[in-house]
Structures are given as C-alpha cells and as structure tokens.
C-alpha cells in the first residue's frame, strides 16, 4: 500500500481542483482511504506539491514501421542525444525520434504514463507490437489506418455498409488496434498514382468514391460499433493555406463523434492576396458550436522536428519545398507513408503562423474537455517539449514575450495578441490528462477516483523549469517538466525527475463484435491483391500477451 499525503490534487474528472487530499493506492489501483495510516505503508510526503493523474498523449508517433524508418534516416538526430545503460535500465539515443526504451523513459520523466501510437497500417502492426514490447513503463494503444484501405473502399463504394462495418471490426481485431485512424482519405490512394485530393468531393481514382463518402462512412461505422474512441481524422489539404475551409466543411458535415488530430496543421487561412494566415480563431469558433467534435492541437515547437505521416503526397510536397531528404513508403492495399526532417524557425514567417494557429486553438476553444495537448510528436516538435507549451498557456507574460520574438507579419489576421487567457492548473490537468482519457474512452485513466489505475505524477512548483532543456531554444521556459514522483500502476517509477526502474505495461485494444463470415467474404480478394497469405495476416496471440481489451458499446 502507498499513500500520497497532503498534496494539492488536480483531478478534473472528479471535480477536484487543488484541494488537499490524500491518495491511497493498493494493487495498482486507487482505493478508499483507511482513515488512519498503518505502519507498514509507504508514504510519499506531497506537502506543497501538485498531484495529478499520469499524463496521457492521444496522438504521437512512437513505434512501428514509419517511426523506425525515421530513426534510421536521421543518424544526425541521435549523435548528441544519448542515455547510457545504467542500473538495469537500457541505453538509447535520439532527439526527435528516440529509440524505444528512451521514449518510454523520457515520457515517464515528464510524468506521462499512457501514449497512443497514432498510425499503424494493419499489415505492419506486428512490427508496432514488437517495438512496443521494448517500450517500458507506458501503457499504450495503437490506431490503425483505414482511410485508404482498398477492400474497405470497395465495400463503401458499393454501398455494402454491413460488410464494411464487419470489415472494420475484423481489421481492428486482427491488427490488435484500438481505434480507426483516417489520413487524407482517398488522397493517399490517389498518391499511389502520383495524385492527391483537394476537396471532399474529389474522385478517388478507380474507386468511384470521394473523401467525404469514406470519412462519413467510417464515422458512422465507429459509432455503430460503439468504439470507445471516435474516428481519428487527419483530413485533407494538411499544411495548405485554405485548409481551414475544408476542415470547416467536415466539422459541419460530421454526423457523429469525430476527433480531429493535430488540427493546427489543418487550420490555415488564406488572405485576399492568397497568402497564408492563421485560421485558428475561425476553426476554434466552429469547434465551440459542435459538441460532437474534439481535437488535439499538434502545436509547433521551434527547433528540429521530423515530419512523418501516412499522408504520402504531403511529404512529397514538403520535400519539394525544403529539398530535404525524403522517404516514401506506399503500403499495399492499405495506406502510404512519408518522412522528411525539417526545422521550425522562429524567424520564419510560415513557422510563426503555424505556431500562432496552434496557440489560437488552445486559447479560443472554450471547453477544455474538447481539446488535447499534443505536438503530433515528432511532426510539430518532440513530446518532451510539452512543458514549454504548458508554460506558454499558463503564463501570459511569457507568451507575450514569445510573441514579441516572432516576425510581425505573421500576425496578419490573427487575434492572438489580444488574448489574455491563462490556463489554470486545473485546465492543464484537463488538456493533458482528463480530456485525453475521456476522448479516448479509457475509463480507468486520467483520474484519481476509486478504482482508477494508480498512475500519478507529482510535481513541486519550485521545480518548474528545473530539467535541463535539451531543445537548445534559448527562450524555452517550462512548467510541469520535472516530476518529483511518478507512480505507474501503483509502483514508483520516477523519483526526482529520474526513472528508477521499469514496470509492466499493457497495450489497449478493442475487439468489436461482428459477423465472422466477413473472413470468407474477403479471403479471395485478399489473396488476389495482398502478397501475404490471408491466415498469416492477423497479429498472432504471441504479440498480444500484454494487451487489455476495452469493451465496445
């Protein structure tokens, strides 16, 4: 038994806002107080400290085929960023794309205990599972990319929605996935011929379909299957001026729950002269009017990043724009992928507009329960820069100082300078913990109520900014960066900002009920178009030993 004594608890799901409260832990769960503290109990003195549920990241690229190609592609990302093997912990390297063990340790040392791998093609999810086994401490979940799945598109095009629904369920089960990821629906399929889509009604070549039809069908299917997490959408025109228009269109058109990921990248406006400007306030207002819609921000962090996405045509464009090295990987019958390293510069007009757009979303979306803090790691910046973003949200003076560093032209059409909102710790706990858990549908995560998983992070306010920042951005200030304690599943894993030991973790997945005959219906087509045997396709039990099913419905 473990008691966290006397801390100021921020547990928004249970409405607790900084009240002094003891947290009791036994068997990996939060339990009722015994009233008095028995002698054999470990007590953590949290007097004057902030106690929160373990942090949750709803959208990051941490493991699997694409991430690993990113690691291999960028040795220059790793040379100066390493950790030695010590005290039973493993070594690792990497800045924007750390190796697996290092990823686990670095998240934990920031107080995060649950992370979602945001995109894995079903056919390569065995690989994702292998990497996740080598990523200790964190509980995880995998979203599988279905927005350009050819067998699925065939069915949606023919209006065979029952089969389409069964196929989605079977794919989730077969891949050990947790949710449905949709990336540039139809656009990635077109990219396999060198094309793309630019509107929701463009044609998906040879499929008699449009991005709109694919997206709406999947939104409906996710709701019908009762998936704990709604469709996780990376829409069309990502990164382009005018993407705010297409984003607005799908927000208005979505009849059902919808999560819009790294929305910052899809909220750029175009002014009268065709120049890029922030569309953050426009999109935030729309989100405010649509309670069925949630988002994570994908905030830019100035410095190095590695862009990696299933959105193949996007990476081609970034490569043309930057001239940097470029990986493309089209995955048979399912999706695409691309990788380009780049740098967000504080002196660059477009980087600054991207940063402003994200900040406007944070500050103008009214309901913190509908917004999650992410950097779409490592696309807009590495995850260990979250404390810088937290500081920017909580500290108006710092934000204003930061704003003064940006090129003035970046503020054309922006309202950011007029916004004086400051996030409270309670709201920060929402956007980094509680809302993330709610949006994911993980009932035992993101709170400290009785029965919740005992994932707790404890911060001393005097330690804000204590961790030596490795981002080398000289204007970096931080908050919630250095936990005094992190408890995962009831075990202490971090003390004074440093990982002590590894603890077991699980991967969450769903097994939605479906008509098993879907297997017979697709077997023949599968063997015609794929290059592996149908029976070798599903992720075998050997990889699913440390998984936990979350019930649908």
């Amino acid at each position: 038994m473990l008691v966290i004594k006397g801390g100021q608890v921020y547990d928004p799901i249970n409405g607790i806002n900084g009240e002094t409260k003891d947290i009791w832990i036994e068997g990996g769960k939060i339990v009722e107080s015994l009233g008095h503290i028995p002698q054999d109990v470990t007590v953590i003195d949290a007097l004057g400290m902030i106690v929160m549920p373990g942090g949750i990241d709803i959208h990051a690229h941490i493991a699997g085929s694409k991430v690993n190609t990113g690691r291999k592609l960028c040795p220059e990302d790793h040379y100066e960023h390493f950790r030695m093997a010590k005290g039973g912990l493993r070594s690792g390297v990497g800045f924007t794309v750390p190796t697996t063990f290092l990823t686990g340790y670095k998240y934990a040392e920031m107080g995060y205990t649950t992370v979602v791998e945001a995109a894995s093609a079903p056919i390569v999810t065995r690989h994702t599972y292998e990497e996740l086994e080598d990523m200790p401490i964190l509980d995880k979940a995998i979203l599988i990319t279905l927005g350009n799945n050819e067998l699925l598109m065939d069915r949606i095009a023919m209006g065979e929605m029952d089969e389409a629904r069964d196929l989605v369920a079977w794919l989730l089960k077969s891949a050990g996935g947790y949710g449905v990821k949709v990336v540039n629906p139809g656009g990635v399929e077109n990219w396999k011929w060198g094309g793309n889509v630019t509107s929701w009604d463009d044609e998906v070549k040879y499929f008699n379909l449009s991005p709109r039809k694919i997206t709406k069908a999947l939104i409906k299917i996710a709701d019908e299957l009762g998936l704990p997490h709604p469709v996780h959408l990376h829409g069309i025109n990502l990164g382009l001026p005018g993407s705010d228009i297409t984003t607005a269109e799908i927000i208005k058109d979505a009849c059902g729950r919808l999560h819009l990921c790294h929305l910052q990248f899809l909220s750029y406006g175009k002014d009268k002269k065709g120049r890029m400007c922030s569309g953050g306030s426009y999109i935030a207002n729309l989100v405010n009017e649509h309670p069925n819609v949630t988002l994570d921000v994908g905030q830019i962090v100035f410095g190095n990043a590695t862009t990696m996405t299933s959105d193949g045509p996007l990476e081609y464009r970034i490569q043309k724009m930057t001239g940097h090295k470029w990986c493309n990987d089209d995955v048979e019958c399912e999706t695409g992928g691309g990788i380009v390293p780049l740098e967000y510069k504080i002196t660059s007009l477009s980087s600054a507009i991207q940063w402003i757009t994200g900040m406007e979303l944070f500050l103008l979306v009214k309901d913190p329960w509908s917004i999650a803090l992410t950097t779409d790691h490592p696309n807009a910046g590495p995850f260990f820069c979250y404390p810088q973003i937290i500081r920017l949200l909580m500290d108006r003076d710092y934000r204003n100082y930061f704003i003064s560093l940006l090129p003035p032209r970046a503020f054309r059409g922006s309202v950011l300078k007029d916004l004086d909102r400051e996030y409270s710790l309670y709201e920060i706990a929402i956007i980094t913990r509680a809302a993330q858990a709610k949006i994911l549908g993980l009932a035992n995560k993101g709170h400290l109520g009785i029965g919740a998983d005992a994932d707790v992070s404890i911060y001393a306010p005097e330690n804000f900014g204590k961790r030596q920042c490795i981002c080398r951005f000289k204007h970096c200030r931080r908050a919630l960066d250095f936990p005094s304690w992190v408890i995962k599943g009831g075990e202490v894993v971090v003390k004074d900002g440093v990982v002590l030991n590894e603890v077991p973790s699980v991967v969450f997945r769903v097994v939605p009920s479906h008509d098993e005959s879907i297997k017979d219906k697709i077997r023949e087509e599968f063997e015609k178009y794929y290059t592996i045997s149908f029976d070798n396709y599903p992720v075998q039990e050997d990889y699913l030993k440390n998984t936990k099913e979350v019930i649908c419905g």
Partner: protein, 424 residues
Amino acid sequence: MLTKAKDVVCTFCGCLCDDIILTLDENRIVRVERACANGMGLFKNYNPDLLSPKIRGKEASWEKAIKEASEILSSAKYPLIYGLSSTSSEAQRVSVKLAEALGASIDSTSSVCHGPTGLAMQFVGEPTCTLGEIKNRADLLIFWGCNPIVSHSRHFARYSVMPKGRFVQDGRKGRKMVVIDVRLTQTARVADVFLQVKPGGDFELLVALKALVKGKSLDAVEAGGISTKVLQELVTDMKACRYGMIFFGMGLTMTKGRDLNVRELFSLVKELNDHTKFSALPMRGHGNVTGADQVMSWLCGYPFAVNFSKGYPRYGPGEFSVVDLLCNKETDALLVLASDPVAHLPSKAVDHIMEIPTIVIDPAESLSAKKATVYFPTAMYGVDCEGTAYRMDGVPLRLKAPMKGNRPSDEEVLEAILEGVRRC
C-alpha cells in the same frame, strides 16, 4: 502419420514466401510444396535432433559451453557480435542487449551487402513501397545489378514480373521489364530490354539518366557503355509509365561507388516522382536481414555498425563494421549469430578470426562453427522454433515452428550467455 503444415514462411531469402506447404512424418519433412529450389533445400535437409555444443571441436554439456562462452566474452576487451540476418528478430533483440551489457560492437551482414543502401538512404532518403504495390500497379520494372531468378527465385512469380494485380490485370503482358547488368544473367535473358553497363560504369549511367530525366541533353554519345540514344528511350519509358520500379542488388552496393551509386539511384527515383510514380527497393538477401536493420534501428537508432563501449550506441560504418574491426585486428573475441563469416568475409578478416576466440550460434555446423572455440547447435528459425522475420520490404511475418523443437533457440542461448556474463 503424415501431417501437413500450411502457410509456412520460408526464410531462405528476403522474399519470405509465406505460402509453403510442408508434409511431415515423425518430425521429418518429407514433402515441400511451392518452395523454390533454395527453399526446398532449407526444409528438406533439416534434421532437428538435439546436438551437443562443442568446445574446441569436442562435445560438451550446454552448461559448460555457456560458461565458456560467457567467460570468453566477459574477459574480452573489445568483443564483436556479428551476423543477425538469419535469425528471428526476438534473437536479434537479445543480441543487442548482450552487446550493450558487454560494451561490444554489433554489426549485421548488412555491413557487407546493403549497408551502402542504408548510408545512401541517410543522405537522400528512399522512395519505396511494399511488394504488393508492385504486384498491383507497376507497369515498368527495372532490375539493376541483381539476378533474382537465381537469388530470389519466386520474386518474379509472386511479386514483380508475373502476377496479375488490381491494376495490372494482364500480368506479364502488362509490364515492361528492363535489366541493367554487367553481364547477360539469367534474369537478363527473360527481360524485354537488357542494357549491358560496363563494369564500374553504374554511377556514370545513373548520373546520365538523371540528367536526361531533368530534360538536359548530353554531349557524350554513351554513358557507362550504353549509347545516349538507348538511354533516352529508357528515360522516355520511365516518364511514361504509370508506376515504375527499380529493384537493385549488390551489383550497385558492392561495386565501385557503393553508397554513391545508391545515392544516385535514390535521387533518380526522387526526380522521376516529379513526372510519374516511381519507387525503388533493395533486393535483400538473407531471410531476416531486414529485421536486423529494423531491430538495431529501434534499439540503437542506427541500422548496423554500432558500438557500445561508452555505454550507449554509437554509429560507425567503416569503424565499427565487421570487416574493418577484423582487418584492423581490433576485435579480441567474436560471437557469430546465424552467419558464416569464415566462408564469406575477405581473407584478411578471416585470418584474424582464426587468431581469436570465437563463439558461433547456428543451426548448421558452418565453416565458422567448425573453427569456433564454442559452438552452439540451435533450432532453425521458422522450422523448429518460432519468431518474427521482416520481408525485404519491411512487412513483418510470424514464423511458425512446423517441426517439434528439440534444440534451444538462438534467443535462449543468447539469454543464457547474457546471464552467464552477468555472473562473471
């Protein structure tokens, strides 16, 4: 009694054909269906009986052999772990853990095959795809410096030249096949077009092609031994195809120019994407050499040639790669995992292997195993032990164990050595 095993994965080469049917009788494979001659040999001649390890050629108990191996490794100043490409990724993961514990160097056979492809990729990137995309879409196939009819016998039938795909419904008829090689190989004989590049002329040829793709004209009448006119025709085909593909082998990576050749090839493919869709894919040889790259990348951050002497992974092709470490006589103990360096490495490197204590973990008693100080006869991945392997295009497959396993697996032996090293 006869039993059948279906959808078995063959680990002979990077194709990882996963449709093999085996017929077994009393834990012996009596019939192999669908495999090529190479794969046939892998399954048919395999005897899974438990064998004793050997210490200096003499049979010894497993305990003694583990102890001996652990002592050799922990007393070495600069041990090297080499091989990795013919075992499961589970075993590869343990080998990295062992290298870390020892402060050793670790290198895979990538070092002497497609290591330069990795270096090229780190410079310019790599536009690629999985094999199914080729089957379903590619209408122009270029094989450069590789001879798949011999080395990857079912590649044509399953993935590239022959199959009917979603958008190439005519199979072979729907695809144009070009071979670029220094000699008329068996693969070249069945091509629609064969371009004979002069030895060492690949780089020049690639540069010329790139210039032509960019719309520049050449002053030269030929490049790499091929006339400009023929090259112009090839470029026209390249730009006009719907989905083009270049497969390349050691004819590019292990000849003059090496990584520079591949850099030029990837740049050419990148350039072609401004006109149509084009990809490239290295013809990886060993069954799980792609897995070795993957595992090392996710654990070390680098695909091969890694050193742990400072307690964290450092990358050093040319410094921490097998041939260099051995030729420079730096390595003072060698652990070989599922490879046969005595048979394959340059003689100067082999000379040094002969002078230092070696530990070999391999299902077959290879040349390296015969020379080894300690030899562990282990189970064969995908035959009598399970695991994961990565196809040449990165698609991961589960390896079944159609035969009952009597021998320990590579990873079990590696775990035992790791345990032994920790006790030393």
